[in-house]
């Protein structure tokens, strides 16, 4: 049946479209190619998500070589959710952000830019679809190299040192991961994740495996931008082309977190005694510190994009915190927050991209009074910001609600964690309020006074994304079902 081939197609479509986009010259053909491939991938991801709610895992043997010998693609509820995030963010960003991309990317380089974009999408999709440790590494590097190109593609020279730092740290992270899977391969002789888990049970000398746990966890924590290994993130987000920020802020760190959870829960949890305590003991303090410190920095930051980048680091903390609670409800909260945060932050950065088509600088002083000139763009920004804060009725509320419930389940330390979540939500209210104050209360500067609202088609895309924040706050059915199936699947190994 043709639907059986979908796991292969979701990767193949963007990867195959990349060289086509590179060959298409002239006006907007390469953009159209990228948007079309991205939308096709999104449609496939939706079909896979619907299929993944019915069965625990869809396994696809690449080239009909049965796993564990061949490469296996494995779509679970977890990976289906991530597929939706990646392809959805890419599609919305491409369609809504065309005007912004046209002004940021030099015409002579546009077709290469869109090729790199498709490679990034293909790589990220490949990471979450693959069930093979080395295959994941290759896709990780495909997506990372493409992402470096995307970040450096704009005209801003400050993006260059930022992307260099990202390249160095990203490569160290990926190489640590490579050392980790090398050590596991050394002891078990397999690269298939499912097979790895069963074979670690038979390993007598566990020392190399413990070293591997360290390398894999640290490498992925570095790539995911978990505090305090986040230093590459703020500048990379701040100085890249604005639409690229919307895309990578929505999905790239989450994909690394996906691999982290997949390894730590699926591979190590069942086979290493006491791993759950070590994992929680290592990551929970980092998550709490990340939430508080990054939120505090966001409160003092005056550049709009850097502020939201620090806010992203805090949100990564929420996801890690949920996971380190080691319960089904905690993991559900963490995983659904991946989806909800992607929705909120993607919308906010897209709104910023629209503002940037009218203004040259994005400090809080520069956007003074822009709310009165571009009420619809700022309105969408505000709806997504409310979701980021966690106002009831928005998607962000759902994830914070589950996170608080999960924290309360976990006993004495839970009350403290609830306090952390509440305090950081208040901090988010503060830094969002600074934007609101600047955008509406102050008198507009010379540039802002002349700014006009963006055209209707762009607003339509932005508001679709903004209203999705409310829709998934009222109807969280699909992401919640996928998150819960992901959480029980991950924790199934613990019992």
């Amino acid at each position: 049946m043709w639907t059986a081939q979908l796991p292969a197609f979701v990767i193949a479509v963007p990867l195959a479209a990349a060289p086509v986009a590179a060959l298409l010259r002239g006006a907007s053909w390469s953009w159209a190619c990228a948007a079309l491939a991205s939308a096709a991938s999104f449609a496939i991801a939706m079909l896979l998500a619907l299929a993944a709610t019915e069965v625990p895992a869809i396994s696809y043997a690449v080239g009909s070589w049965p796993p564990p010998f061949g490469i296996e693609l494995r779509i679970t509820g977890f990976s289906a959710l991530l597929l939706l995030i990646i392809t959805g963010a890419s599609t919305i960003a491409l369609i809504g952000g065309k005007a912004s991309l046209d002004s940021d990317i030099a015409p002579a380089r546009r077709h290469y830019f869109y090729a790199a974009w498709l490679l990034a999408v293909g790589g990220l999709v490949g990471i979450v679809a693959s069930g093979d440790a080395f295959n994941i590494f290759v896709f990780m590097e495909v997506s990372s190299l493409a992402t470096y190109i995307l970040i450096a593609a704009g005209g801003n020279p400050r993006a260059l040192p930022a992307v260099f730092k990202y390249l160095v740290m990203g490569t160290i992270g990926a190489t640590f991961y490579l050392i980790g899977i090398g050590l596991i391969y050394l002891m078990t002789g397999t690269l298939n994740l499912v097979d790895m888990e069963t074979r670690i049970h038979d390993v007598t000398d566990l020392k190399p495996i413990y070293a591997a746990v360290g390398f894999v966890t640290l490498g992925l924590v570095l790539k995911a931008g978990v505090f305090p290994l986040h230093v590459w993130l703020p500048n990379a987000y701040a100085w890249s082309p604005h639409v690229v920020t919307a895309f990578i802020a929505a999905c790239s760190t989450k994909v690394s977190l996906y691999v982290l959870l997949r390894f730590d829960f699926m591979v190590f949890q069942g086979s290493l005694g006491g791993h759950d305590l070590q994992f929680a003991g290592f990551l929970m303090p980092l998550a709490v510190l990340g939430i508080l410190v990054a939120s505090a920095v966001a409160m003092t930051e005056s550049h709009l994009k850097r502020m939201l980048a620090y806010s992203s680091i805090a949100q990564i903390g929420y996801i890690v915190l949920g996971a380190s609670l080691m319960s089904v409800s905690g993991l559900t909260a963490g995983i659904i927050h991946m989806f909800n945060h992607a929705l909120a932050k993607g919308t906010m950065f897209l709104a910023i991209a629209f503002i940037a088509t009218r203004l040259t600088a994005l400090r809080l002083d520069d956007i003074a009074g822009i709310g009165r000139r571009m009420p619809w763009t700022l309105g969408a920004f505000l709806v997504a910001a409310m979701s980021l804060i966690g106002i009831p009725g928005t998607a962000g509320f759902i994830s914070k609600w589950y996170l608080v419930l999960a924290a309360l389940e976990s006993g004495a330390v839970g009350a403290l964690l609830v306090a952390v979540v509440l305090v950081s939500s208040l901090m988010a209210v503060y830094y969002i309020w600074r934007v609101v104050e600047a955008a509406w209360s102050s008198a507009p500067g010379a540039e802002a006074a002349g700014a006009r609202e963006v055209p209707l088609p762009m607003l339509a895309v932005l508001w679709t994304a903004a209203l999705a924040n409310i829709w998934f706050g009222l109807q969280p059915g699909l992401p919640l079902a996928l998150s819960r199936s992901a959480a029980t699947y991950l924790l199934g190994q613990l019992q």
């Binding site: 290759v138 190299l145 470096y148 450096a152 160290i172």
Partner: protein, 119 residues
Amino acid sequence: MKYFGLYNYWVFTLLLMIGLYAVIAKANLVKKLLGLSIFQSAVFLLYISMAKVDGGTAPIIQHADEPQVFSNPLPHVLILTAIVVGISTIALGLAIVVRIREEYGTIEENEIQARDRDR
């Protein structure tokens, strides 16, 4: 001999540390990339070392009359891929350094930071 018999792994560790040190300690961006390259090469050595089987030969040599011992070909194939990845990374890194040189007129990290502060 117990600890030095498997000297490949010692060399792996040493190279890894040299590479990581250069990445962290050097301010020159090209030297950082050199460190990164050494760092990655160390991992290649780890994979190649684990593939070695005592007395093993290449898996393409076949003698019908005698049983053959082969080295494990899989890590070699894996590392061939990783080498390609490494080359691409370094190439991209160097391309970025060239662009930094064009924009900032320097490839020393502290000077770049100083110029960013003045901006």
